[in-house]
């Protein structure tokens, strides 16, 4: 449904007037998201996960390679087509404390995408529906709150409701639970799998945490320094990792029964 073909991304770091160095964040990355699938992208920090996420929603443009959505090349679209594309492919950010505007209420955050995407129907009713969907019950209680009045997990739910308001086909979640404490993580991940099951939305779950990956994803890609080193179904990769790097990642994941 959405796939990247040999995508590379180089950042140019300027030093002085003429000099500078190229930093390669991604090289020849090909990943594909199938319909109604939860895909995991795993890697340590600095491996290019977030760059890949931003390229998928076209906040960054690939230096080379193509992004293909529904069999058409979208790497260079702009204007109306870009807006259309982003209604289908949305992103959930890592930090729910930064991704909601502190000056606007919860209701505003969910209303705006409905107004922008010209939702035909009762907008207020839809807002309530979306809030209930992400288990912010009762909606009346949350609607007029401002982001600083609710907790981190609730903020992330509000953000997910904001994204769902656009009725997307794919949600790219860039470390959506890393800022939340462990008990809340499970709830948000449950929410993601519920979203997939009920609405058939494909989800790309980007993380460094292999514990949570094993809970919800169907397939995973392992990224190392901007290169895909391993891919396959989650069970296979976690049970028989071929790469040393993957093995290290698995070992690094905390295990409550293991003692140092």
């Amino acid at each position: 449904m959405l796939r990247s073909e040999n995508v590379s991304k180089e950042f140019f770091m300027r030093k002085g007037l003429y000099g500078g160095t190229k930093i390669s964040a991604l090289s020849n990355v090909s990943v594909s998201v199938r319909e109604k699938e939860i895909l995991g992208i795993v890697g340590a920090s600095g491996s290019g996960k977030s760059t890949l996420a931003k390229i998928m929603v076209l906040l960054y443009r690939p230096t080379s390679g193509r992004i293909i959505y529904n069999d058409s090349d979208v790497s260079n679209i702009a204007g109306r087509r870009l807006k259309k594309y982003r209604e289908d492919v949305q992103m959930v950010f890592q930090d729910p404390y930064a991704s909601l505007d502190p000056f606007h209420s919860v209701e505003w955050h969910i209303k705006r995408p409905l107004i922008i995407s010209r939702y035909r129907g009762n907008i207020d009713g839809r807002v309530d529906e979306l809030l209930e969907m992400v288990k912010l019950d009762p909606p009346v209680y949350f609607k007029n709150k401002y982001p600083n009045q609710i907790s981190g997990g609730q903020r992330q739910r509000v953000y997910i409701a904001r994204v769902l308001a656009l009725d997307p086909k794919i949600i790219i979640a860039d470390e959506p639970v890393s800022m939340l404490d462990v008990s809340l993580r499970i709830e948000i991940l449950d929410l993601f799998s519920k979203i997939r099951d009920e609405f058939g939305i494909g989800i790309v779950y980007i993380t460094h945490d292999l514990n949570t990956v094993s809970m919800i994803t169907d397939r995973i890609y392992v990224l190392k320094n901007g290169v895909v080193v391993e891919e396959g179904s989650t069970e296979d990769v976690l049970a028989n990792p071929r790469e040393d790097y993957t093995r290290k990642l698995i070992e690094a994941a905390p295990d409550p029964y293991k003692r140092l």
Binding site: K83, R86, E87, D95, A98, S99, F103, R112, I116
Partner: protein, 320 residues
């Protein structure tokens, strides 16, 4: 057809809503101001001066420019603050001169801030090329020495036997004074437009206009208010300077021309303190008010500057 109408209706509602957000932002900032003691004092000073100026528009004890008294009288019962070396009443001049001085200060502050806000946000929120072009223009205006430009224009106007009116003074002060604020707004907008909540709005499909009016102006409102006071200070100083140099219209009565005449007649050497002190003190007061408001605002916007008063320890409920 009806759909088209509906859409346009939507947009206009959106814009008026944006304006309302802007206004509520301003109201919110002023409300915050009054909770800070420095800002409160500054605000009261400005309010008093404003009342003084408004009274001065409608009422002054004597015509401010009439030479109807004995020259250089010290303060007495008839002339509250004495008379000038030409026989004018100093208090009448002071009260009549307040309105134009404040008018120049506030209009320079307001228009200068609006221009720098527009330029700053535009450059901070647009592509690299537009950004660097605007940045270059701002830099050029930053290095233009305002005072020299004022003198140049002033002497030119003198040369063609015309005087700088208030309007041309205001225009010159705005032209020389907007660039600093534009730079500030540009850098703040650059930083805010990289925040995730703005990225999120871009992804959701918000238009630039909507993001600017609904989100960015809200976030930078404290800086806007602070910049307004700075530019207003610049306006006061600029007006005083123009009049002090004698390149303005010297028949107009304001605190700057009062200083010009007092100093030209060497009031400070002949001991006519009642002529030179009142306008100086009023100008200082005005500046003081602006500065206090600015400091107060700094404390509000930057919690690390805030001095916390010792609070009584909360009573702990033993039963809880």
């Amino acid at each position: 057809m009806s759909e088209v109408l509906n859409n346009s209706n939507d947009e206009s509602v959106g814009i008026s809503k944006g304006l309302r957000h802007l206004l509520s932002g301003v109201a919110g900032s002023i409300g915050m101001l009054l909770r800070n003691s420095k800002a409160k004092v500054g605000f009261s000073i400005l309010l008093l001066l404003g009342i003084f100026a408004i009274v001065g528009i409608f009422f002054s004890p004597y015509p401010p420019n009439a030479y109807i008294f004995a020259k250089s009288l010290p303060p007495n019962r008839i002339n509250l603050l004495g008379t000038t070396g030409y026989g004018q009443d100093v208090f009448s001049q002071l009260i009549a001169g307040a309105a134009p001085t404040l008018l120049v200060a506030f209009s320079v502050g307001l228009l200068g801030t609006l221009i720098s806000l527009a330029v700053g946000i535009l450059s901070g929120f647009s592509g690299k090329r537009v950004n660097s072009v605007i940045n270059a223009v701002v830099n050029i205006f930053l290095v233009v020495p305002g005072v020299l430009l004022i003198m140049l224009f002033g002497t030119y106007f003198l040369g063609i036997h015309r005087n700088l009116g208030y309007l041309s003074t205001i225009i010159i002060l705005i032209v020389t004074g907007w660039a600093f604020g534009a730079r500030t707004f540009r850098s703040i907008t650059l930083s805010i437009s990289k925040r995730e909540y703005v990225l999120s709005s871009i992804l959701i499909g918000e238009s630039r206009v909507s993001i600017i009016f609904r989100q960015i102006t809200r976030a930078i409102m404290p800086v806007v208010v602070s910049n307004f006071f700075f530019t207003a200070m610049y306006g006061t100083m600029g007006l005083t300077f123009v009049e002090y140099l004698g390149v303005g219209n010297l028949e107009q009565v304001n605190w700057g021309t009062m200083l010009y005449w007092a100093i030209n007649n060497e009031a400070y050497l002949t001991g006519q303190w009642w002529w030179i002190l009142p306008p100086s003190i009023m100008i200082s007061f005005l500046m003081f008010g602006f500065i206090l408001l600015n400091f107060g605002l700094d404390e509000i916007a930057n919690p690390s500057l805030r001095i916390f008063l010792k609070k009584k320890p909360k009573k702990v409920d033993e039963n809880a």
